[in-house]
Symmetry: C4
Subunit: 383 residues, 4 copies
C-alpha cells in the first residue's frame, strides 16, 4: 500500500543495555582463583580493572587512597567541591541534609563558587602521600588551565570528560581544546570521554589519547535521556567502541583501552561490560554506597548543578557496606552488590576466561529483563 | 509444519515512539549558544520551531500574544470555546471544577453551543493587536465557512485539522472540502493535518499546502488508540512523512515543512522529533501546564466533547511554571519539562547540529524504556 | 563460537496481540455514516458483524432476543446452565454470591448436573419466539446428540466448539465426530472452532463448515496459557486463518468467513481484529458487562468448571451499561468500551474502508503497549 | 553515518524464556487419556518425565520414596543437610525460623559443617527400602569421593552438577574430574549438568554421560544472573541442547536425553519445555510447595550458602497442596500450579502429541507476556 522510496527513510538500529543481555557459558570453565583481573593503562598496571568515578559523592583524597590500595584507580574531580572549598565536608553535609525539593537549587548555588587553584595541588599531594596513583579529571573547557597544575602536583593519569566529547568541537569565537596538542603537551597518559560511537571513538584515538571512557546517559543519577533525548545503552555503546579500538589497533598497532563508564550496579553488569568489550569499568553509584565515600549515602552527577538546565538528580543510595566488602566480600548479600571482584572472577570462571581479553570474547544473548516496582524480573523462565 | 503461502499473509511493520528511541552523539559537537533554532513557514520565520496546539486549554488570545513574543506560533481553535462564548472564562472554570466522573458530559454539553461568527474576528484582532502573528484552525467541515472570516480578520496562517485528514474524503451526498481549491482561494499559508503515512502526506503536499501536521493518537489527552485502534507512534510517523517531504522536494523543488504534533513531554522528546525529521513541533500538554494557559491546570482534546463517541479525556496536568521557564528556563527541574529550548540547543550541540536541518540527520537507535508506575525506566543500563 | 547445524534448531515465529498493533490511516477517508457493517453467514445477513459468546454469563434467551434485534447473533451454550437447570437464575445467583476462594469448587459442582434434553427445545423456542435468529453451541463430544435436538427446535445456526478443535481427533476406542458427515447431515450452517493456525483452518474448511471461530486462549476469563502453555495472540491467529480462508476461496470459490473469538475489550480491538482479516467477531466479557447479561457482573469460561483441571477463573467484570449503550452509545465513556459499533464505523472511516472487506486491507503497524497496574501504557509517544 | 567495519562487532542472538513463548495447536488433536508420558533414562523407565531437584528444601528420603511411587525420580543432594547432619530436621526448622535479614548468614554457617560419609549410605538405604529408584547428586569437586560411596549404598542413578559444568575445566595445580573416566568407572548411569549451549552439550555427550541437565540461572531461588550476569533463558537453552542431542544421535546412534532443569512454575511451562525439545524436566520450587517437602514452605538453592559470594536467596514459597494434588489433581486452582501431569496430558492432546517425542515437534510462537506486580499479563489479546 505504501509505495515508498524506502531508501529515503531514516533507519534505526537496535541498541541494548545491561538488563537486556546475559552471558552464555562456553565449553571450558576456569577455577576463579586462577583468573587474572589486571588492567594496563599507559605504563601503569592496576590489579583490578576498576576506576572510581570523578564524582563528588564518590571520590575524595581519603577514598582515593583506600581504593588505590585495593588495586583500583579513583579519579578526583577537579571541577568539584574538593577544589572549590577548603573544607568540603560542610558542603557535603549541607547537600545530604537538603530536602528533595530544594536540593537542586542548593547544588546550583554551591557549585557557583570558583575553583581555587591552590586546592588542586593540595588534594593531589594528599593522594600521592597515600602511596597510590593519583588521577584527576576536568571538563574540556578547563583542561588547558587545570592540567598543568595537576601535573605539577604529581598527577599520574589525567582525565578530560564531559557528557559528550568529540575530537572536533565547534564554538564561534572561542579557543577550543585540541586533543592532539593537549595529549602531546601533557606528560601523563590522558583518558578522554565520554563517547558512544564507533566513528567518534576512532577520531579520539587518533589524537593520541591513552584510554577512552564509554557511556552517555547511563548513570543512575543522570537524566540526560529525558532532558536531551541523548544516550546509547551501554552494551551496544561498548560493543561499538570496542570495535573501533580493535580496528584502530589492527591498523596502527597502538592499543587504546576502553573503559565502560556508568550504569553498572552489580557483578553481573560488570561482567557484561567486559564481555561487551571493555578493558576496564568506571563505577559511581556502587561506590557512593561505600562507608568510605564522601556522599553520606547520597549521589549526584556533575550535570546536576548546571545553572540553567540541570540534567541529573541527587539520589539516595544509602550505605551498602565497606569498600572491602563491596569489592572483595565476604558477603551475605545475594543481589550481587557486594564482592564485585569475586563475582567477576566467578563469572569469568564459568565463561572459561582466564583474562580480561578472553572474557571479551564470551558469547552474549539478548535476554530481556523487565523492571517493575524497582525490581528486575528476568524472563529466564521464572520470577 | 505450516505449509502456507506466505505471500497471502498480511505483513506488519514495526513502528516506534519517543520512549523507544535515543539520539546518538556524532563526531562533532557544537557550542549550544551557536545553534540556530529558526523555522520558516510560508513567508514567516519563527525564532523557535514550536507551535502551540489549537486546544482550548492551551491557547487563548492572551496566551497567543505572549507565546508569539517568545518567538513561537500559537494556533487559536475556531471550533472551540473562544468562538462559541462571549465569555469563555466561565466555561473554563466550570470544566476545571467538574468531577472526573461528570466532566465528559459537561464537555459534551458545553461544546454543543453554536459558533458565533463575530467572535472569530474579535479573537483574532485581539491577537493581532499584540503585535504577533495570528494563526487559527478549524476542521475540514467548517473550513470553507470559517477561513474567509479569519482572513478578513487578518489571520496570518490558517490550519485545517482533524484526527485524520486526507486529500480524498468520501461522503455520500455532501459537498467535501477540496484542498486544491481551498489552498488556491486562501491568501495565507495553509497547514493541514493530521497525517501519519508517506502516501497520504504526498497527496496532501500535491494540493498546495504550506505545511503538514504529523501525528494521529499520540497526545496525552487522546484515547484514539483505545477507541478506534488507530495511531502510529510519533517517531515512525515523523520518519515516514519526512521521507515524503524529501521525495516531494526532490521531484518538485517545493519544500513543505512537517510539524510533529502531539505526544512530546520534555526536551528529549522534542529533540527526537526533530532528529526523526520534523521541521518544527506542535505541543499541547506541556503548555497547558503554563501559568498563562487558559486550562487552569487541566487539559482536554477536541475529540473529547464528541456527542456520541468521545475519544479523549480531561486530564489534570497541574501548573509546572511560567511560559518563560517552560521555554527558556532557568530551572531547577531535572525531568526535562522546563527550559525546553535550552534542552534542544544542548541536545543539538552534543549531536553536532548547528541547524534544524542538520539535526534531522542525527543518528537514532532503538533503545526501549519501560513505563511502570507512571515512571519511565530506561534500559540504558541503570534504573 | 557455536558451530551449530542451525538447520537442526527449532525456529520460532513472532506472534502479535491486540495491544501490540495499531491501524494506519490510509490515503482516503470515509464518512462513518456511509460505512456498511453487514456480515453474511450462510443464507443469513447480520447488520452488525458481531456474535455474542456461548457463555453462561453472557447469553440466555432474553439476552439473545435483545441482541438479535440489535442486528447481531447470540449463541446459546447447550452444555451450560440453561440446559442443565429448569431455573438457572438460582444457580447464577449462587455463583455471583460465592467468594473468590470457593467459586471454582462451586462451579465444578454446579456443572456436574446432567443436561436435560427437553430444556434444549424450551430455550431455543423462547429465542425463536422473540423473532430473531437462534444459534446454539456444544462441544464436539456432544454434537451428534444435541444438534438434532436443536435443529428440531428450529435452531438457525449451529456451533461446535472446544478449546482446540481439529478435523482429525484421535481417541482410542471412542467414536469421534466426523465434521464431514456432521456438516452434511446438519441442515443448518455449522460454525466450528476454535482454531488458530493456517493448516488446521484449511482442513476444517474442507469439511464443509460454514464459518470458523478463531482464537485459543485470549479470553479475559481464560487461563489456558498458564495451565497448558497453549495460545496464539489474536492478531497473528486472525492473519493466519484469514490467509487460509483467502487461499481456500481462491482454490475452491467457496468463501468461509472467519470470526475472531475472544480477547477484545473495546472498539479499538474490534477494529484491529477486522483489519487483521476477520469477517466478524465474537465477544464475551464486554457483553457480560451489559445490564441485560445473566452473569450479574461476573464472567467465567466453560473450561472453568472442569472437574480435574480448571482452566479459567470467574472474574468480576461489573456492569458497564445497557446493551444499547455498549453497542451503539451515545456514551460519555472515553475508554472505548461503549458505542462499539460507532467506534468501528469511525475507525473504518479514518481508514478509508466502506465495507468489512475493505477494512481487512487496512495497514497495521507493530506498536507495543505496556500493561502496568491494569492500565495500558501505549508507546505512541506519551503516557 | 557510522562507516564501521560491521564484521568487527560482536553479534547478539535473541534468547527466549517460558513467558515469551506459547504453543500452537496443530492439525490433529489427541484424547488426553491416550497420551503416553513415559521417559527412559539408562535402563530405567519413569512413568512421568519428571525429576525432583537435588535441593534440601525439596528432597529428603521420605519425599523421594513418595515421589518415586508416583512415577518420578527424586534426586538426593549429597552435598546438603541430609549428609552433614544426623538430624537435619533441626536445621530445617532453624532455617525456616530465621528472619529474611539473617537467613543467608545462617545458611552460610549451617553448610560449613563437613559431610559425614556414613550418612550417605544411611540416606540412600532409606530410599531403597521404600522400593523406588534412588538417585543422588554432588558437585564435580566431590564426585570422585562421594560417587563410590553412593554406589556402594545401591544408588541407581548418579548426578554430577554445578552452576556450569563443562567437559574441560581448568584449575592450576588441582586434579580435575575427567567425565570420560568417571562415566567409565561408574556402574550406574551418570547425569551431568548444568549446561546451556550446543557445543558444551556436545562435548559432555561425548564423555559418555547418560543424560544432561539443561539450565543456568532460571530457578526461582537463583540470582546468578544478577551476581554473575550469566544465564540463558530456558526455552532457547533447551532448543540449543536438544539440537546437540539430535545431531549427536544422528552421528553416533546414541540417544542422550536432556532434562530441562529449573524455572518451571506450572503446567504451561512444563509443556513448553518439552515442546522446546526436553525429554524430561527437573523441578524445584513447585515441589518445595508440597506438604511432603522438607522445606516447610521455604526454598533455597545450593549457591545460597556460598561463604564468599552467595548467589541465591531463601524464598517463601508457601504450601500449595499435597504432592498428589500438585502432580495429578484434582484441583480447584486455575493458575496451573496443580495437576501438572493432567495439564501436560491436556496440552499434548490439544497439540496432537501422543508421546514426548511427538510433543517435541510442536510449533511454538514468540508471544511475550509482561510481568507486573508479580502477575503475568499476557499479550494474547486481553488482560
Amino acid at each position: 500500500m505504501a509505495e515508498m522510496a524506502s531508501g529515503s527513510r531514516k533507519e534505526l538500529r537496535r541498541a541494548y543495555g545491561f538488563d537486556e543481555v546475559a552471558l552464555v557459558p562456553g565449553t571450558v570453565t576456569v577455577n576463579p582463583e586462577n583468573v587474572d583481573l589486571s588492567f594496563r593503562i599507559g605504563e601503569h598496571t592496576l590489579s583490578i580493572p576498576v576506576l572510581a568515578s570523578a564524582m563528588d559523592a564518590v571520590v575524595d583524597p581519603g577514598f582515593a587512597i583506600k581504593f588505590g590500595r585495593f588495586g583500583g584507580l579513583a579519579v578526583l574531580n577537579l571541577d568539584g567541591l574538593q577544589t572549590r572549598y577548603d573544607n568540603p565536608e560542610e558542603l557535603l553535609a549541607e547537600i545530604a541534609q537538603s530536602s528533595p525539593l530544594e536540593v537542586t537549587s542548593v547544588l546550583q548555588k554551591i557549585y557557583q563558587q570558583p575553583i581555587k587553584p591552590n586546592l588542586i595541588g593540595e588534594r593531589l599531594s594528599a593522594i600521592k602521600k597515600g602511596g597510590v596513583l593519583a588521577a584527576a579529571s576536568c571538563t574540556p573547557q578547563n583542561a588547558s588551565i587545570l592540567a598543568p597544575l595537576a601535573i605539577e602536583a604529581g598527577v599520574d593519569i589525567f582525565v578530560v570528560a564531559s557528557t559528550v566529547t568529540t575530537a572536533r568541537h565547534i564554538s564561534e569565537g572561542k579557543q577550543e581544546l585540541s586533543f592532539d596538542k593537549f595529549c602531546k603537551s601533557t606528560k601523563v597518559p590522558v583518558l578522554v570521554g565520554n563517547c558512544v560511537s564507533y566513528e567518534a571513538s576512532r577520531e579520539l584515538m587518533q589524537t593520541g589519547i591513552a584510554g577512552l571512557l564509554v557511556g552517555v546517559g547511563p548513570g543512575a543519577a543522570c537524566t540526560s535521556r529525558e532532558v536531551l533525548g541523548v544516550g546509547v545503552p551501554q552494551v551496544t555503546a561498548t560493543i561499538d567502541c570496542a570495535a573501533a579500538r580493535d580496528d584502530y589497533f589492527a591498523e596502527t598497532g597502538r592499543y587504546v583501552p576502553i573503559i565502560t563508564d556508568g550504569g553498572m550496579r552489580n557483578g553481573g553488569d560488570i561482567s557484561k561490560a567486559i564481555a561487551a568489550g571493555a578493558d576496564a569499568i568506571m563505577i559511581g553509584s556502587p561506590f557512593a554506597q561505600a562507608e568510605e565515600a564522601p556522599g553520606r549515602g547520597f549521589h549526584w552527577g556533575m550535570a546536576t548543578p548546571h545553572a540553567g538546565l540541570p540534567r541529573g538528580t541527587r539520589i539516595r543510595v544509602g550505605i551498602n557496606g565497606s569498600l572491602q566488602q563491596i569489592l572483595f566480600g565476604p558477603t551475605s548479600r545475594t543481589d550481587g552488590t557486594q564482592n564485585l571482584m569475586g563475582a567477576l572472577r566467578t563469572s569469568m570462571g564459568v565463561c572459561g576466561a582466564k583474562t580480561i581479553k578472553e572474557m571479551q570474547r564470551t558469547e552474549m544473548v539478548i535476554a530481556p529483563a523487565i523492571v517493575t516496582e524497582g525490581k528486575i524480573w528476568q524472563l529466564t523462565g521464572s520470577k
